[in-house]
């Protein structure tokens, strides 16, 4: 089911988001993310960062332009294909995204169980392995509300890197996180990029990603004047 081996992984082609729906400036957004790229997008506003990630996922209606993921225009797909395509995105978001009716282990494995026919044991083993990588003693089985903030953050990392996401939309997981999360996080990003995933790392300030400066493909800034590329030294 390999869809695409060449060309941009994510392409924002003069995409003008609907201001009413998203609050993003109604300006044309253009960006190309190639497989293996890691793009840092600085956005001071957390809600704006979340909306930008929504825009990349095809969740924000456009007034003009197109957003294509793996060569497929979000606007041209039907629900079934849309959902399948979103199943290839690993996402960490500031917006509360843990379902209260499921325990954490189910919430983590749900995406893989829904979108793939991988055996349960394999999915659980991967989740446990990632849990260990991100500093959990196993796969958390309590409801998300009963986990500490830090453990929930670790569980969020596990959820985002589950399966083999082709695109990672990471809304600054390192902010206010324990120091020991940095290395596993960067290691997971690097591994994902090695196998061809693209990463959009949304940050509030430039301090967080400085340790990974050499690995960054490009730096962008999301502000009132739209999405602007920033030249780095």
């Amino acid at each position: 089911m390999e869809t695409r081996t060449v060309g941009p992984l994510l392409e924002l082609n003069k995409a003008v988001p609907s201001f009413e729906e998203s609050g993003l400036p109604p300006l044309p957004f253009s960006m190309k993310l190639m497989p293996g790229d890691c793009v840092v997008v600085e956005a001071r506003s957390a809600s704006r960062a979340t909306m930008f990630a929504d825009l990349c996922c095809g969740l924000v209606p456009l007034e003009e332009g197109a957003v294509k993921f793996m060569g497929l225009d979000w606007a041209e797909l039907h629900d079934r294909e849309l959902n399948a395509l979103r199943g290839r995105i690993g996402r960490m978001t500031r917006r509360p995204s843990w379902p209260e009716f499921l325990n954490t282990h189910l919430a983590i494995t749900l995406q893989q169980l829904h979108h793939t026919n991988r055996p349960l044991d394999e999915v659980v083993a991967e989740a446990a392995r990632l849990g260990e990588l991100f500093g959990l003693p196993g796969l958390p089985v309590l409801p998300p509300s009963r986990l500490s903030d830090v453990d929930l953050l670790r569980a969020g990392c596990v959820r985002a890197f589950m399966g083999r996401p082709r695109l990672l939309l990471l809304e600054d997981p390192l902010e206010a996180s324990p120091v020991d999360l940095l290395n596993p996080f960067l290691s997971a990003i690097t591994e994902a990029r090695d196998r061809g995933a693209g990463v959009i790392w949304l940050v509030r300030g430039n301090a967080v990603w400085q340790g990974y400066r050499q690995g960054i493909t490009s730096l962008w800034r999301l502000a009132d004047d739209g999405l602007v590329e920033v030249r780095t030294a």
């Binding site: 089911m1 793996m70 797909l77 399948a84 290839r88 026919n117 044991d121 309590l142 591994e191 061809g196």
Partner: protein, 792 residues
Amino acid sequence: MSACSVGVGIYEQSFRGKRGVSSEEIVDPTVQNDASVRRVLLHLVLPFGALILVVGSIAAIGLHSYRSTRAGVVALTHELLGAVQRNISQEVSDYIMPAVAGNTIASGMIAHAPTQVVDRVFNSYGAAMLQSVPQLQSFYLGDEEGHFRLITRGPDGTNQERTTFEVHDGKQVYHREFFTDDGVKTGEEYTDATGYDPRKRPWYTDTEDQTDTQWTQPYLFPASRQFVMTSSLRFQGANGHTYVFATNISLNELSTFLDHLKVGKTGNAIILDSKGRVIAGRNIMQQAEAAGWDSEKMVLDPKTHPVFARGYDHYRVRGFGPHSFELNNKRYVTIASPLKNSAKGWILLLSAPENDFASFARQSSQQSLQFAGIIIVFSLVLAGFLVRQVRRSERMARKLTQQGMQIAHESAAVQQVASTPSLFDPTAEPLVLTEQLAHVTNARRASIWRLLYDGAAIICEDSYDQKEDTHSGGFEMSRTELGGLFSSIESGDVLNVPNAATDERTTQFERLVMRELGTHMLAVYPIQGPKGIVGAVVLEDAAMVPHVVYFVSLMASIAGIRLVETGQDAGGALTLPADEVPGAMAIAAPRAEPSFDNMLVRAPGGAVSSGIYPSVAVLVITFSDPVVDGETQTHALLDLINQLATDVQRISRERGLFAVEVAGHRMICMAGCTQEEDPTAIIRVADAALTMRETFMAALAAADLEPVFAMGLDYGAAFGGAVGEEPKVFNLWGQTVSLAELMAQGVTEGGTIQVTDRVYQALRDRYLFRSRGTFYAPHLGLGRAYVLAARR
């Protein structure tokens, strides 16, 4: 992997494939349902829709044709029946005419004859008519004075009898004279006729006040089986007398005529009077017999004449003309018409099954249906061909698309290989080659093998398992193990085996290598070097291999360049196995005993026996990797580490721990390594852990460092013992050790002690714990994790 590794040295790496997966994904977003709907429309609905249209058109045309033909046939039938009816009318008219015309002629002759010759005229006329007209039976002549004269045939139908009503001696008698047909008198007799008065007979009375011919009701003569009726005409003679001349005519001949008449194939005709009584028709005598020789009762019986009865009913309701109706699932046509020149109110009724006339139309329809059937079958076959052709075209188009995608895929794979740094560097792993080979050929496993020792052995440079996404390598096999495969590789020919287990060249390879994965198909591509074959590319269960020969050859060439480089780097070391190199044994000579071992606190030697210890407490302390910059920092760090180690030794001795092992950035402290259960071990280790934490915190803070350590504690059964030569080293294995390590790895923040549920259960009365939650780990199941905070 070392290029000169000998024996079995396996490494595994968790490098992920470059492909985005995924055969595991359920929905392929690139496939739109619209396409398949369109395909179904194009492939099935369109041809079969067209076919149904064709069939419908044929059926409609057939129906229309059938209806028009049928209407034509009905019209033709009516016309035919009309012609038959006219013919019969004429026949009946001709049949009756002698009676009607005879009356007129005879009356004319008698009226103008003198009285003396009236008898002679009557007899002459009657004799002549009886001889020439067979249906005429007799003639009567009567007058108003009661005279009566009769001429008739003999009982056998020949000769004649002339009867005169006379009075002899006041007695009324019939004077009968018998003549031959030639007029020779053969005898006479007198019979009693008392009471007979011709003026009271119906043939006489019917003519009163009438000037034209009158008909009586038919009447039957059972003796002669004759069905007769009389026509009579009243006229005035020249002598002033009033005469009535009557003619008896037999209807038997008419019935015989109708009996022999064919209407269509099986139809027939009947003559009825105005009251529905049968005058003439088929089997008239049987009907008369059934009616008791009473003509009044000879009406149409629906049981014996169902078709005529129904036809007569139609006539009564709808009048004269042709009528169609269905009876007993069969269609009939009848025609009712008045008979001219006959008695008043006679009706001719004809009936025939429609089939008699329309059978050719039915045959024609059947033929049309058969033709339509043949056309439909042909159409079906053509539609089938069309569907097949369309599907074939579609398949070809799909195949072309697939080929296009395959080429793009191959190009991408080649680009991926080409962009790999140090592709030809023998010291770098050639992982990309096997990965791309496996992805493009869709092989379960792809491996690159290199010949060693001038072809005496072969070693796996790299093997990539696509499903597991793992690399392995380093296994070596000798020619004696895989003789057939070696020969095949050295021959330089590509080997494709659908089932490696049954081919003698690959049986051994299948048993040693493939059986582990359960693969069956094997493809071996020899790798050509400048000096001959240097190795082989081996693909297992590679379904796409026949289509990507070019790509595999390309990869094999790249692998060849690498293998040559690798062989050169290895130099002569690979020409012979290590154990055959002179002086090699000297390397294995015993070294000096090491000055250090890895035990900070040594286990009491000899005091403890190896085996399973039921209640071991294990504390694992991990430190983050230190970052040092410059010699000064290194020395400072080493001093710090030394101080920490000394503290650990001190605390361990104070708490009576069994042993403390150092391994890299980990320390493993253990207590309770005794055959008997030691309930104090966990308490001692927990105390030690808390004390160590305090000490480490203080020491690290003094060195201006973050608490870069984490502790994990578990308690339970483990097994261990002293290993190696003196001084032996004590080591401990088991789930307790693994869990303690897992706890140390998974701490929430630096400087905390994470413990398992078992530790919590054992120590909860003595120490304060904070729950972290429930976690699941494969092979271990569900468990809770706690953070050990302080003593109570």
